[in-house]
């Protein structure tokens, strides 16, 4: 028979042992990459759980599709066909222009523009911690996705890949606190770095003098400096530029162009540029 008031010995010892083990794990994981392969392996094994967590949203989606009328779909198809037509027209001369651009760059003695290929992925998860701006997508190392690759959507830069398992990748959004993107103003060519303000909302520009040639409404595009994000992708539009007396730097806020809170598709960029090994490592550490 089980005694009614069992004396539990060693809870304290066992608890402190386990907490100590956790502290070791956390500090090793925060400062080295030793646990990376374990995390990839375990993450791959746990992919089904991530899929299950998608069911409520998928059910809601199919529910709304079920109650959409035939006419709405017809209209949608027609609208999209028209859109394709306009897009095709505007890209007709693209190939010729690209060639001309590269020829001119050769004349100037600078290297050719790198052609980028894209991989279309679907967003399957969002980091539950509201302090992190990270999403998970449904393509991983089996599709050659590697840490450090840039991610865009149809409007602009989304972020970069910071971790991947066999079938999923984690993307650190440009609005995450630990993310910074080197950009230049399309109008004036001013170079600056924008950092994530946290959440999905805003980017913040730091250390830009109040006299700099920047205005509200300027489009910021990636400058390609730092070699993490390729040159020329739209990032954000300046929404606030103020200088206060006695403060050497201006207060700059910018709204991201990419639709970061949408749960749809994002594109992972594959470029032929070879990045030094330490860049991808740095990206992994920043992503924690």
């Amino acid at each position: 028979m089980k005694p009614l008031f069992q004396k539990r010995v060693g809870i304290g010892v066992k608890a402190s042992g386990l907490i100590f083990a956790c502290v070791i794990l956390v500090s090793v994981d925060a400062s080295t990459l030793w646990l990376k392969s374990f995390k990839t392996l375990a993450g791959t094994a746990l992919e089904p759980v991530l899929m299950i967590s998608q069911w409520p949203n998928q059910a809601a989606d199919s529910f709304s599709v079920f109650f959409t009328t035939r006419k709405t779909f017809r209209d949608e198809i027609e609208r999209l066909n028209l859109q394709i037509l306009t897009m095709r027209t505007s890209t007709q001369k693209m190939a010729a222009l690209l060639q001309e651009n590269n020829r001119l760059r050769q004349l100037l003695g600078s290297s050719e523009r790198i052609q980028e290929a894209v991989l279309i992925t679907e967003v399957i998860g969002v980091d539950p911690n509201p302090n992190h701006a990270r999403i998970t997508v449904d393509k991983g190392t089996s599709d050659n996705v590697a840490i450090g690759q840039a991610v865009i959507d149809d409007r602009g830069l989304v972020g970069k890949v910071v971790a991947s398992t066999l079938g999923t990748s984690t993307i650190l959004l440009i609005t995450d606190q630990t993310q910074a993107v080197p950009v230049r103003s399309l109008r004036s060519g001013l170079q600056l770095i924008v950092e994530g303000g946290g959440g999905f909302a805003d980017l913040v520009g730091r250390h830009v003098p109040g006299t700099a040639d920047l205005r509200v409404g300027d489009t910021l595009v990636t400058s390609g400096l730092g070699q993490v994000f390729p040159n020329g992708y739209p990032v954000a539009v300046v929404s606030q530029f103020e200088q206060s007396q006695g403060n050497p730097f201006a207060t700059i806020q910018a709204k991201p162009l990419a639709h970061l809170s949408a749960r749809s598709h994002v594109l992972i960029l594959f470029s032929t540029a070879v990045m030094p090994e330490n860049y991808s490592n740095g990206a992994a550490i920043n992503g924690q």
Binding site: R8, I11, A15, I19, P128, N129, P130, N131
Partner: protein
Amino acid sequence: MASEASSKGSWVILSSLFMALILTILPLPEGVPMEMGYLRPDWLALVIVYWTLALPDRVGLLTAFFVGLLADVISGSLLGLHAMGLVMVASFALAAYQRIRMLAVWQQATIVFLILTLLQIVSVLITVQLSGRAFSWLTFLIPLVSALVWPWIFLGLRALRRRFIN
């Protein structure tokens, strides 16, 4: 403790923990502001607290540790962060389960609030120290919401336990 009675209804415990894990990573519906994430109760901690109070012989520190590691891997946080929190929560519950069991549900909710607030402070200190992130004071809404949810977790899991375990 390897008798037949001690493994009866293990699937109830495991599936409740699994549900809690799913609820932890369940994405918010599209268009909901991200700050709403601070209103998400700490499901795993609540479920672990319930089972350690109800069945301290079967669910304890090791369960908390492994469930925490799963949560770490799947949510992509630093490995060991959730595990440490859950082990702390479970050790508090285990150390005083005989007393906490005697309390009324709202008193238990108060205890849950205190334990989870402490846990939140520890995890904020660690994250700020290790990843250099600023933290939001809204983080401390999580223990509050969890305490408000506790009575339902308690009643629901107790009904399940009486039906399937003992």
